[in-house]
Structures are given as structure tokens and as C-alpha cells.
Amino acid sequence: MRVDLTDSLSGLLPGEAFGHPVPSSLWAALRTGVETVVAPGSAEEVATLLKWASEMGVRVVPIGTGAHTYPRYPRDPFLVLTTSRLNEIQHYEPADLTMTASAGASIRDLSTATAIHGQWLPFDPPDVPNRTLGGLVATGLSGPLWAGYGQLRNHVLGATIVCGDGRALRLGGKVVKNVAGFDILKLMVGSRGELAVITSVTVRLFPLPVVDRLLVLEATDVSELVSTALAVATAPIMPASIILSATSDGGRLLVRLHGARVSVEADQKSLEKHTGVSLEVRNTPEAESLLVQERDSGINTELAVRVWALPSRIGMLLDVLKQVPGVRLNADVYGGSVRAYLPVNLSDIESILAGLQKDIEELGGTIRALRIPAEVNASSYFTKPLVDERELAAGLRRAFDPHAVLWGTQ
């Protein structure tokens, strides 16, 4: 960034806001180096920064730690705003099962605090412990546990945000039921930094399950796993999550049951009766490491996409995706989505992506980039929102970020 710009900013914020290291993930994604990473120490400082950026025409890329940020490169002058210094628990009332924390607090730290009271945040997207609360909300990712607990969007009770032009807003509240006005809070979940910088979040917590049982089925024939997975998904009980992972060598079905011991046992019997398949119980700690392995195995992959369709079409989605050599797949069977990790060294990667898009959209599904190397021309191969949706979203973006200061990330 130009020196005169940096100078004008340095007078506005305390010294602690500057001199932070550039997250390594950003170097690659941004192609060129990021010169300025600013870490405001309060919501007011976020507001000061964004007001300044609006006036100066500087773009701002909001990030948590940056570990899960894959921005494209803004052409205009830009800086990176990290919430890393906004990291305290502001309010935690265990008896209410609600917690308010600053956006930069890591899920790992929050989980440690809630575990003491037998509570947790039932969300398990990849690398969840290293995500920040604000980052989790901004990406909107719930992970496969939403089968049993519902999506993150239903458990975000409130947030404080700073809009692109520096307006600070308090959305929602601290209570579990709240319909006082239009639900603009929902817009923040999955907004990917396009509307506002989230500075704090109030979430609903859940009691930790007494028993967390993992059932596993392994097979070389993925279609066998698919039919069992679909039978599990339509059983009369509700598992906490249903995950199917696959490579060209076969795959694995993981079903997680939560509850009291007697009910988990009964659920397992009922699943076996319904599917006609005997699922193997994995004990902790082996179960835990297997779940973490399935959850996180792709986090260092450079090219990852998310594919989504009706849950009943999951088998067809997997059939399409399996054709890519070297691909690794992880499906959330309840939600109907698949994360696909693709090798980047494929010479014809762009034509592969184009082919996937065509096949998946023909199945009525969507394909979206989770991570793409800078060399791949991202805009072409992914499902666009419907025209009307795009127009409404653009209108909302103008309302929250009138000077288009915020640079949304993937």
C-alpha cells in the first residue's frame, strides 16, 4: 500500500494495531505480498478503520486468523483487517446456555471454557478448533453435526457488527427466541465478510452428550456405503451426524449417535434393523482421532470444492466426482453436500472443473469453490446464484457497505 495511505492510518489507531505478521495462507492466495495487516483492539477501532477506508477508497479484506481465508486479489489498494486481538469471552451464563465472545476468539478456547460446564458448540466443519467464532459465523459452516443439532444459523442469537462504512450495529440479542424486527442477523451467517466486520457473537450452547458413539462401516464398493448411508438418513431416529468419505480405493461410513447410554444403544439396534447392516462400534480415543482425521484431512489441499444436491442424489454426486483422478471425497449425507479435494497437478484442471459443473448442475445441484489456487480462473466453473437472488444480495450489500469497501473472501 502507498506510504501516504499507511501514514494517514497510523495516526488513527494505537500502535498495537500494527506490525502483525501476515498469515502465510494469504501470501499464496494474494499472489503478491500483503503489506498491511491491521489488528484493531476494539469494535470502535474497527469502525475508525472502516470509516477511514471508505473515505480513502481503500479496500479491506476482513479475516479471523487467516487460516481459512482464500481471497482473490483486489486490484485497488487494500489492507487486511484481522480480528485476532478481539478475543475475549464477554459473557457466559452456563445456566442460560448462551455465550457472548469477541469475533476473534478461537473455537478451541471457547470450547475449553464451555466444557468445564458440560457444554459445547455442536459444529464440526474442517479444522474447527482453529477457527475464530467470527470466522465460523462468516463462513456459515456448521459441519455434518447439523443433522442432530441444526445449522449454525439457527443458533446465532446476536452479534455486533461494523458495516463497511463504519456504522456499528447491535443485532439480535442474548435470548433464544427473538422476532423483534426484520432478521438482518441471519444475513451475517455466511456473509463471508461482504456486508460487515463481525466484532462479537452470541451463540446458543448445548449440553455435551453423555455418550458419543461412533459407528463405522468400511467397504471398497462405495455404492454399498451409499445405500446404507441413505437408509441411515431415512431411519426413524436422528443421528448426530452421517459422514461418508471415499477415495478411488473405497470408503467409510461414519454414523455418530448422541444421548444417554440406553438410548444410544436402542438407536444403534434400530439402525441395524432398519439398514440390515451391522455397524462396528469404535471406542474412544480411536473414534475421536478417526473423526478428526475425516474432518481435517483436506485442510491443506489447495483445491477444494463443495457440491450440494438433494440428499437422495448423494450417490449420483459421488459417481460424478469419483471420476476425477486422485480425488478425495467427504460427504455430509444428511445435508446432501460433498467436499471434494482435487489434486492441483492435473494438467486439464479447468476442463475437469467445467465438466463437474455441467454434470452437477444437471443433477439439480450446485458447485462452489472452498479453496482454489490463484492460477485457476475461479469465476468460470462455479454455480452462480439465481439472477434474482444475485440482485437482492447486491442491494443488501449496497445497504451495508455503500462504498464497497469490504472485500469478501471465500
Binding site: E93, A95, D96, G118, G140, G150, R153, C163, R167, A168, L169, R170, G173, V175, V176, K177, N178, V179, A180, G181, F182, D183, I184, K186, L187, V189, G190, S191, F206, P207, L230, T234, P236, I237, G259, S263, E265, A266, S270, W308, A309, L310, P311, S312, G336, G364, G365, T366, R368, P385, L386, D388, E389, L392, A393, G395, L396, R397, A399, F400
Partner: protein, 505 residues
């Protein structure tokens, strides 16, 4: 300074006191508009006869009344689109309406408005058993969806107490809850896709279960709870759940509502996940026991707590034992448990028949609605009691205690002008009390016209302007349900012309 003036705000802000806001004559629709509407939906579905319009003069909150200029009853998305297009091109406001059971005056007509009702849009279009979703027209009655999906082992979870009358469209507009939303969540959790008709009649599809919800912003989530101010939902895609295997229902009788409240906190904090936790207080029990719905509750009871667990049968007795223990520790006089459906119905009776029973002890009832953090229930309930005593008003509480969602019901007599004023003042104090306790002014009934005046208790000018801006994206000229949700705000120092310019910006 912010702009929130909308058409209709030149009217005095409706209040309980001004009661019947239908001052003066309702302006008739131009006959060309009437005949054009009839062309679209058929003569018999355009209501203009003043006597027939009286049916539509209020929703479930009868304190506010105003007949619309006309009521139109289309039968398809295309007809709604054509009707809205016609009305909007004539500058006529549209008020969407379902069954009219709303309790915040959301479906109240504006002085210039026409009601577009969904009564004829009552078909369930699809039940997809494999994917556990249903697509329904907005006029489908909530309970019917559960009836229709039961044969497939499925049901629709949100169960407002009005579920045998209210529509899915109304539920979407209000983001309605119900007793079992404690475990299962409110309407928003179940709406996966919508077809909506927006300003000018534009038909727009939002979301859909087979699409990645985050290819764009959560527009479905924003539309849910928009109280008819963004557009009309004309097709609703909803998630269904498998019917649970077992149910246990407990009824705990307590000496006071405060101790019942403490038992609620204890149950939730102990890590149990009940499907429903509802409180019925002493005055309500009295009313129910004096009515044809008498359930055999002890009359000296200060409160009754209905607790329900559902899920895999094997674990339920254990849960029920633990909840019973919590009740006893907080001083429950007795705890009953039901395992068979008949006994269950009996334990629920006081809760379900509360509103009907109250009708017998007072001519009018104002159903209030607010949420507080669960741990604040005992002190807030004591505060409400105090407010009732100070104003000499009878307040009966029947509510979703597990969610901290209060319904203080104020009993009064509309004919008594003095009492009306007290009701209004007591309501306001109750709202302030709940907000001070860290709560909010409505948990499920919405803002409508009734709570506009309280919006500033929980939102500042910037938040209200952000909501107004969101509405403008969907409805730039404020032709859908104007004068609802957002409070009327004077633009400081503005001349009348400037005020008018502020309209619809």
C-alpha cells in the same frame, strides 16, 4: 437522523387507546381496479361489500380494527403476481393475510390498503419422503401438514398453539414458535426454500434444499419473519422430521410461579434436553378449573409446570426421573407422569385450554409476548406480578418457560376506558422490565402495529435504519404492509414536503 417514515404514518400511530382506528369512511377502490382484479381471480374472489369486509377488520389482536378497501383471494402464484402487479401499478398497498390469528396486528389493513388473502392457496404440492421435505402453498393450515405427513412416519415440528387455525404462510411471516420449539427450534430452522411475489408482482425463487445455501446471502432466512412487509410467500419448502418413538409428560405442581421458574432453570442447566417446558400460573389454573376444561389441578397451586421429553423410548424414563428430581428439589408439591396418550392430553389440558378459559373470566384479553434469559424468569415473573398489583390488573401467565418466552395475559374490559389506559401503561412497563432483564419485546408474535412503539427499547436508530434499508431492497416503494414493524419516526425539522419526500426512499 434517519428515515423511517412510510406511507400510512401520517395517520396517528395506532394504540390500544385509539382502539378502533377505522375513523372515517374506507375509500372504495376504483371500479376499474375491481373489475381488473375480478378478471384475474374471478368475481366471487374479490370482496368489496362493506359488511363482508368486516370479517377482515382485525387479526387475533382485536384491539386494532380497520376494514380494508377490498379483499382479494387468488389461488396460485401467478394470480398473486398478477394481483400484486395490478395493485402496485395503481399505487395501492398490499396487506398479505393468512388465517388472521396473528397477535400483533400484522394483518391489519392500512387506510389505503387491499388485503391479499391466501385462504384459497391451501394445497400441499409435494411430500418428498426420501429427502424429508414438503412443498406447500401458504394457505395450508399448520396442523394439516403434520396430518398429511404422519402416514409416512414424518411430521412438521413447529407447533404454535394456534396450529389448528394458523397458516404456514403466516408462520413464515412471523417466524412462529410453539411449545416444542424448545428442542426443535422455530419456523426459520425448517424453511429451506421459498417462492415469493415481490413488489410489482415479480416472482422470485429463494434457496431450495438441493442448493448450497451459501452461494449467496441467506435471503430465505431474511424473508422469514418479515411480517408481510417484504412480499408474499406463495410456495414454501419445509423440512420434515421423523416421528419420535416415545414421549413422557410430567406435570409438576408448585406453590409459586417463581419456584416453578427455578425448576425450569435447574432442568435446563442439568443438561437435560426436554422437548417442551411450559408454565401455567395460579390465576390461569383458577380460570381453567372454573371452566368446562377443568383438568383437576389443585386450586391452591401457584403454578403448574408441564415438561415433556420425546425421542428414543429407552432413554425417556431416565430423563423424566431427573426432571422430577429437579422439580422436587425446587419445592414441587407433587409431580404426575403420563405414559399413555389420554393421560398426556389431560396433563396438557390447562396449558392448551388456557386462552379459551380466560375468555370466561374477563371480556377482553391482551396476550403479551416477550423473551428473557431463562435464569431471569423468577425475578421477571415477580416483577410482572408487582406491575399487575400496582395497576390493579389481573395478569395470567401461560408461557414457553424453557425458552424464557413469556406470555403475560392482561385481562380487562374494553368498555372501561380507564382500564384500557392502565393496560397500555402496564404493557409498556412489562416490556421495559423484560428488556432490562436482558430480554426482548417479542419472542414469537412479532411486532406488527402493536409493538412498533416498543422497538426503540431494543434497537437504536442505526439498527432500525438498517432494517428499513433491508426492506427497501425488497420493497422500495413500501407497498407491502406499510406502517408495520418499524416505528414511525419524525424527521427532525423537516417540513411537510420533506416528510413526503422521505416516504418510500
Amino acid at each position: 437522523m434517519y428515515r423511517l417514515l412510510e406511507k400510512g404514518d401520517e395517520e396517528p400511530v395506532a394504540s390500544l387507546l385509539t382502539g378502533k382506528v377505522s375513523s372515517g369512511m374506507t375509500r372504495r377502490l376504483p371500479s376499474t381496479v375491481v373489475s381488473d382484479l375480478a378478471e384475474i381471480v374471478g368475481h366471487e374472489h374479490v370482496i368489496t361489500d362493506p359488511d363482508c369486509l368486516l370479517v377482515y377488520e382485525s387479526d387475533g389482536l382485536t384491539a386494532y380494527r380497520r376494514p380494508p378497501r377490498a379483499v382479494v383471494l387468488p389461488s396460485s402464484t401467478e394470480e398473486i403476481s398478477a394481483v400484486v402487479g395490478l395493485l402496485h401499478s395503481n399505487g395501492i398497498e398490499v396487506i398479505p393475510r393468512g388465517a388472521g390469528t396473528g397477535l400483533s396486528g400484522g394483518a391489519l389493513a392500512t387506510p389505503e390498503g387491499v388485503i391479499v388473502g391466501t385462504a384459497r392457496m391451501n394445497r400441499i404440492l409435494k411430500i418428498d419422503v426420501e429427502n424429508r421435505i414438503a412443498i406447500a402453498q401458504p394457505g395450508v393450515i399448520n396442523a394439516r401438514l403434520t396430518e398429511a405427513t404422519n402416514p409416512y412416519g414424518l411430521y412438521y415440528a413447529p407447533d404454535p398453539s394456534s396450529q389448528s387455525a394458523c397458516t404456514l404462510g403466516g408462520n413464515v411471516a412471523e417466524n412462529s414458535g410453539g411449545p416444542h420449539c424448545l428442542k426443535y427450534g422455530v419456523t426459520a430452522r425448517y424453511v429451506t426454500g421459498l417462492t415469493v411475489v415481490l413488489a410489482g408482482g415479480r416472482i422470485v425463487e429463494l434457496g431450495g434444499v438441493g442448493r448450497d445455501p451459501y452461494t449467496t446471502l441467506d435471503l430465505v432466512g431474511l424473508f422469514v419473519g418479515s411480517e408481510g412487509c417484504f412480499g408474499i410467500a406463495t410456495e414454501i419448502e419445509l423440512r420434515l422430521l421423523p416421528i419420535t418413538e416415545g414421549v413422557r409428560t410430567l406435570l409438576g405442581i408448585f406453590e409459586s410461579v417463581e419456584s416453578a421458574g427455578r425448576a425450569v432453570t435447574k432442568i435446563i442447566a442439568s443438561g437435560l434436553m426436554p422437548a417442551a417446558v411450559e408454565i401455567v400460573d395460579g390465576p390461569t389454573i383458577e380460570a381453567v378449573e372454573a371452566s368446562v376444561f377443568a383438568a383437576g389441578y389443585p386450586l391452591e397451586a401457584g403454578a403448574a409446570l408441564v415438561i415433556e421429553f420425546d425421542g428414543t423410548d429407552a432413554g425417556l424414563d431416565l430423563d423424566a426421573d431427573r426432571a422430577e428430581q429437579c422439580c422436587l428439589e425446587e419445592g414441587a408439591i407433587e409431580v404426575q407422569r403420563a405414559t399413555d396418550p389420554e393421560h398426556r392430553t389431560k396433563l396438557w389440558r390447562a396449558r392448551k385450554k388456557a386462552f379459551g378459559a380466560m375468555g370466561r373470566i374477563a371480556p377482553d384479553l391482551l396476550v403479551q409476548d416477550a423473551t428473557v434469559p431463562r435464569t431471569k424468569l423468577p425475578e421477571v415473573l415477580a416483577g410482572i406480578d408487582d406491575i399487575g398489583n400496582r395497576y390493579g390488573l389481573k395478569i395470567a401467565n401461560v408461557f414457553h418457560a424453557g425458552d424464557g418466552n413469556l406470555h403475560p395475559n392482561i385481562l380487562f374490559d374494553r368498555q372501561n376506558q380507564n382500564e384500557l389506559e392502565l393496560v397500555e401503561r402496564a404493557s409498556k412497563e412489562i416490556m421495559q422490565l423484560c428488556v432490562d432483564a436482558g430480554g426482548t419485546i417479542t419472542g414469537e408474535h412479532g411486532v406488527g402495529v402493536d409493538k412498533r412503539q416498543y422497538m426503540t427499547l431494543v434497537h437504536g436508530p442505526a439498527e432500525l435504519e438498517a432494517m428499513a434499508a433491508a426492506k427497501r431492497v425488497f420493497d422500495p416503494d413500501s407497498l407491502f404492509n406499510p406502517g408495520k414493524v418499524l416505528p414511525a419516526v419524525e424527521v427532525k425539522g423537516a417540513t411537510d414536503t420533506a416528510k413526503i419526500l422521505a416516504i418510500g426512499e
